[in-house]
């Protein structure tokens, strides 16, 4: 009978981690719906980027206030999780504060956790104020209505509850308070419970302990349904981020093959196309999520909807419909829809009459982009909305000939006279004599 708590704990743990693992599998499956892309180059630079940008938060702190608050929550999250390890060992083996065996160091550790917990509470409070009282502009865009807004707040509430549980747990742990080492903050909470009987205090301690670990497991499982996946995906995402100059747009190999054939005088135009012709993709550009490459899909799951991209975007700033954040959110939402479709149809995608283009991202948004790279520069986790915009323009132009009229005129001019305006190529050097 005395093993009952241990068994219950093990069951909760297995369910909590198991369900999360199941969703991670789904996440990986969805990301792999994307096209292949070779990102095996420059490993050392990639590791360095991950260390600097994700681990070191180098781009977060470019905005000092949000950056500092985020670093506090991030450090708090990582460090306080050492405590989770202790909780798991205690829970499985029926021990109590097993790490306290390490001696005085334990006091320092828990003391640090308690201070961090208070800092996290303060930071989370300020985050909440920024979202709900100050109402920073970038949290108020149309795409932030409804679930994205609630999601942002739910995460903050989660953090408040977890931190409070942690502090109350420490405050009501008599043995820990008696140690008088590491209870830097919780010693001031203990007096609140002074009128209660020892057994009641013990029940509170046990309850908060169970709620704390359950809360962490619930939060872990909440990630998949939330924008908060960035706490895990920021790492691979920064690893696979762009390494080339931002101005370099990728080369479409399939087009190169065709252009080479067209330009090669030795090619027999009537020859039967060789086998390689099969390598030509069914379509140029992107109209749905499966046409994107898997790094672009990873990007969409990594986005935590902070809106730094949108706040820097010249189109967004001047009231156009385009919002780079919405491009990422739409991509993720469509990918989730496709994933659910596959789940519901026993592993194969059943045509649903929808696609990323038009049903999620409108043409008006795509054509408003100036390709200035402000969004990719602003993103703290190396997400690239611009590549998705360009790929979708490619589909519009090369598959549908659906560019705006003025752009079609510009392209006709380039084709006919080698300049975007209707001037004769033979007049190209006239400026010399003017």
């Amino acid at each position: 009978m005395s093993y009952l708590p241990n068994i219950i704990f093990a069951i909760i743990l297995v369910i909590g981690i198991g369900y999360f693992a199941k969703n991670v599998k789904k996440l990986i499956r969805n990301i792999n719906l994307g096209q292949d892309i070779d990102v095996s180059d420059n490993k050392s630079q990639r590791w360095k980027n991950m260390a600097m940008i994700a681990l070191g938060q180098s781009k977060m702190v470019r905005r000092p206030i949000a950056g500092l608050l985020h670093v506090i929550v991030y450090v708090g999250f990582v460090v306080i999780n050492i405590e989770v390890l202790e909780i798991i060992i205690d829970g499985l083996f029926g021990t109590h504060r097993i790490f306290s065996a390490v001696g005085p160091l334990y006091g320092y550790l828990i003391g640090a956790f308690e201070i961090l917990a208070v800092l996290v509470l303060a930071a989370v409070g300020l985050f909440w104020i920024r979202r709900n009282i100050i109402r920073l502009k970038r949290f108020m865009n149309p795409e932030m209505k409804g679930w994205p807004k609630n999601d942002g707040n739910i995460i903050l509430y989660f953090e408040v509850v977890l931190m409070c549980l942690f502090l109350i747990m420490n405050a009501t742990d008599n043995a820990f308070q008696v140690m008088s080492s590491g209870n830097i903050v919780s010693q001031y909470i203990t007096p609140l419970f002074v009128n209660l009987s020892e057994s009641t205090i013990h029940i509170i301690e046990r309850t908060t302990w169970w709620l704390h670990i359950s809360g962490i497991l619930v939060f872990l499982n909440y990630l998949y349904f939330s924008k908060h996946l960035h706490i895990l995906l920021a790492f691979p995402n920064t690893y696979y981020g762009h390494l080339t100059p931002k101005g370099k747009f990728n080369n479409l190999e399939s087009v190169t093959n065709e252009v080479k054939m067209m330009m090669d005088p030795n090619v027999d135009p009537f020859a039967v196309p060789p086998e390689v012709a099969e390598a030509v993709p069914a379509k140029f550009g992107v109209s749905d999520v499966q046409d994107l490459n898997w790094v672009q899909l990873l990007n969409s799951y990594t986005c935590t909807e902070c809106g730094r991209c949108t706040s820097e975007c010249p189109a967004s700033q001047t009231g156009k419909k385009l919002s780079p954040r919405k491009i990422m959110m739409d991509t993720r939402d469509r990918l989730e829809e496709v994933g659910k479709n596959i789940d519901a149809n026993k592993g194969t995608f059943k045509e649903d009459g929808k696609q990323l283009l038009d049903d999620y991202i409108t043409r008006e948004e795509l054509w408003a982009c100036t390709s200035c790279n402000a969004c990719t520069e602003a993103c703290p986790v190396s997400i690239d909305p611009l590549s998705i915009i360009l790929d979708m323009r490619r589909y519009l132009v090369m598959e549908q000939s659906a560019a705006p009229v003025e752009l079609n005129n510009m392209m006709t001019n380039i084709e006919n006279n080698g300049a975007p305006w209707p001037y004769n190529q033979m007049d190209r050097l006239n400026w010399k004599n003017e």
Partner: protein, 263 residues
């Protein structure tokens, strides 16, 4: 004017069996746009002054394909690129300078995969080397003491991390270089990139170039310096929209230097 400008073509160099030091890629704006042609001429005067042996492709030059690529027309882009590369490789070109950041970016970053690998420099970088090598000297001249702010072209700055060369040149003019709130990595686009130059903007509250001009006006400049013919047009239009054309001039860095020297 034209008597003082020497603009040899690659074909002429070839005929003499010689190779120039650098190819000046003029670009479509530099060749055809009335405002940008002034930038082209200013830069040529500086090249002449520094005795740089350069050549242009003249009628053999064609659009790099940048606006086509950024509109999504990869076919047209690659056709342009392959044609240009064929011409340049036939002339065995090694080094290119251009006053257009879009041409600069495209030739530098997107031509190598299609068979065209060259050392490509923006004209501000090239002028900076001329200065460093002592082939060109700059004095403040008539701009001494003026307030100048530099608008970073996206395809020079963020796209290729060139921020200092243009600023170093401006500082040589003994002027007061003042930075806008949004500059360098955080610079705001003029609104022309991504082929926007060739179409009407989508519906919104404001035009991007007006927003950017307002940011420039915050620092009360006498001159807005640009390093891109398209930015130049957009900022000039922005200044006109704010009815400030009497007090704020928009000038390319090559023009600033050439004018300072009264070339």
């Amino acid at each position: 004017m034209s008597e003082t400008m020497k603009v040899p073509t690659m074909a002429e160099y070839m005929a003499q069996g010689k190779q120039p030091e650098v190819l000046f890629w003029v670009g479509c704006a530099g060749s055809f746009d009335d405002r940008a042609k002034k930038i082209t001429k200013a830069f040529v005067k500086l090249l002449n002054r520094a005795n740089v042996e350069f050549a242009v492709l003249g009628t053999e030059e064609s659009c790099t394909g940048d606006p086509a690529k950024r509109s999504g027309n990869e076919f047209l882009f690659q056709m342009q690129a392959v044609t240009n590369i064929e011409v340049m490789n036939a002339y065995e070109i090694k080094k290119i300078v251009t006053a257009c950041p879009h041409c600069f970016n495209t030739i530098k970053n997107e031509y190598p995969e299609l068979g065209g690998s060259y050392e490509v420099m923006h004209h501000t970088q090239f002028l900076k080397t001329l200065l460093d090598e002592g082939r060109l000297t700059i004095e403040g001249g008539k701009f001494k003491g003026k307030r100048i702010t530099f608008h970073d072209p996206c395809y020079l700055g963020r796209a290729n991390d060139v921020y200092e060369a243009p600023r170093d040149l401006i500082k040589k003019l003994e002027v007061e270089l003042i930075e806008m709130r949004k500059c360098k990595k955080n610079g705001l686009c003029c609104g022309a990139g991504g082929a926007q130059m060739f179409k009407e903007p989508e519906k919104g509250d404001k035009d991007v170039n007006v927003e950017r001009t307002e940011q420039a006006m915050e620092v009360k400049p006498d001159i807005i310096a640009a390093g891109c013919p398209f930015c130049n047009t957009m900022m000039t239009d922005g200044v006109k929209a704010k009815e400030k054309e009497d007090s704020i001039e928009v000038m390319d860095i090559a023009e600033l230097i050439a004018n300072a020297e009264d070339l």
